[in-house]
Amino acid sequence: MREYFNNIWTAVITILIGMKVTFKHLFVPAVTIQYPDVKPQLPERERNRLYVNMDDCIGCDQCARACPVDCITIETVKGLPGEDLGKTSNGKKKALWVTKFDIDFAKCCYCQLCVFPCPTECIYMTDTYEFSEFERNNLLYDFVTLTPEERLEKKANYEKYEAEKATEKAAAKTQPTNKTAETKE
């Protein structure tokens, strides 16, 4: 019998205590924000969309190798000997034309592993987080600053140079053999 009334009593009291808690919260200002109108203050280390500063990129491929999901694809073409490719901001001389630097943000897992190995600190994470797309292909970002024609040109240039070098080499090769042949004779 005592337990019976005790049950009623605790039920009523604990319900009233709970109601007191929720009633107090009616007058507490909301902790949420009205998102698209009010944007949250993001910390400086925010890890969102990657950005590549191509002026500094030397095409070393270290970020692509660090990536656990292989979302970075880099292709490079060697510069010709006389060509000036410019310098990075920390004074390194560039030696490669970067003809392809794609990051697939549909694959990217925002782990920041690509950022640390970069010798010139040209790849980094920004605080842009609103970049959803209707087409998945639009998430494939191309960071290369060269125009498509220029890329082809660089490739062609290099191939031409390679071919020239090869013929030169072949020519050089044939000449010494001739010489040795001569000396033998």
């Binding site: 319900i15 109601m19 902790v31 949420t32």
Partner: protein, 357 residues
């Protein structure tokens, strides 16, 4: 009063009847449901340190209108193995049961849909109609979760009718009438004439009755809460167990009908509690209309007080919902049969003895 007005206006009993009966639907239930859904969202949001709907209209007050428009546009899905006639009939039946209850609710001295002498009895009888609708919905959905929900709901509503009726009998014993209009008229004057404070007759009995009236109010409020399936008694639609119970399979307007019925029902039971214990449409302090001698103002004020009281109890229902966890189905029955019904009986006997004094 309003009936005579409509009769004079249209000159036909039929039209007057139709207008009289549709009046609460269009003037009251629909706007109330829209408002109550908005209120529920806002109350829950602010209790949880959120803001709730803010976009459609100022502080989102048009949000429910937008939702209704969305629900009207939605495809009405009927699964292949549903029992189609029952499936289509169920939401209508649930709504009809709720709507019929409004017929006997005294909104003000000038408007009672149907001022029948069996008012309270009629409401209790007609609101059990809802059970049939819910059972039909659960059965015809051909879904195990819906069926479980419907079974629970039937057991729950029928069980909780008993304490409700016992408390109503207690009130009827004191007042001697089942007519809600007369009941409200009896509690006129000031708030100390309300039934919760022992009724209009002065004397020792009145003071002795007060604790028992408060107990009776507690019982009827708890059991009506269960009858409208609100937390902590919302197990028929317990979303974490049964997805959403008997209306899992419904979409579009049929779902909206259930929703509308739920909110209309919330007001109906709050109105009954207000009419039985809190003076119905009577003002707690007196009328401005009487003070300034403007006779037409009095019914309007009465409507205001009635709505305010009803809304207050609806608010408490929401408050409870956003505070409490829900009971389990056997505990629900335990609360009813082991606690509410014995207490209601004891209360009935004690009040009966007191009225003999």
């Amino acid at each position: 009063m309003t009936y005579d007005f409509f009769f004079n206006l249209t000159g036909s009993y039929v039209w007057a009847d139709i207008i009289q009966s549709l009046l609460p639907l269009f003037i009251f239930i629909l706007p109330f449901a829209l408002f109550a859904v908005w209120l529920e969202r806002k109350v829950s949001a602010h209790m949880q340190d959120r803001l709730g709907p803010m976009r459609v209209g100022k502080h989102g007050w048009l949000q429910t209108v937008a939702d209704i428009i969305k629900l009207i546009q939605k495809e009405d899905i009927v699964a292949e193995n549903n029992d189609k006639p029952l499936f289509n009939l169920a939401p209508v039946l649930v709504f009809v049961g709720t709507y019929a209850a409004f017929a006997a609710i005294p909104f003000s001295s000038a408007y009672i849909g149907s001022n029948i002498d069996l008012g309270v009895f009629f409401i209790v009888a007609v609101s059990s109609f809802v059970v049939a609708g819910i059972l039909m919905a659960g059965w015809s959905s051909n879904n195990k979760y819906s069926l479980l929900g419907a079974m629970r709901s039937a057991a729950q509503i029928i069980s909780y009718e008993i304490p409700t009726v016992l408390v109503i009998i207690t009130i009827v014993m004191i007042t001697g009438t089942l007519n809600l209009g007369t009941l409200s008229e009896m509690q006129t004057g000031h708030f100390w004439n309300w039934m919760i404070f022992g009724g209009p007759t002065f004397g020792l009995t009145k003071i002795l009755l007060i604790p028992f009236m408060i107990l009776a109010f507690g019982i009827i409020y708890t059991s009506t809460l269960a009858e409208v399936n609100r937390t902590p008694f919302d197990i028929p639609e317990a979303e974490s167990e049964l997805v959403s119970g008997y209306h899992t399979e419904y979409s579009g307007m049929k779902f909206a009908m259930f929703f509308l019925a739920e909110y209309a029902n919330m007001f109906a039971v709050s109105a009954i509690v207000a009419a039985l214990f809190f003076g119905g449409y009577q003002s707690p302090v007196g009328y401005l209309g009487n003070l300034f001698n403007i006779p037409w103002l009095v019914p309007v004020e009465q409507l205001f007080w009635f709505t305010a009281k009803g809304l207050f109890f609806v608010f408490v229902q929401m408050w409870l919902r956003w505070t409490l966890p829900r009971l389990r189905v056997d505990q629900l029955m335990q609360v009813c049969w082991k606690y509410l019904i014995p207490l209601a009986f004891v209360n009935l006997i004690v009040v009966g003895l007191l009225t003999l004094l």
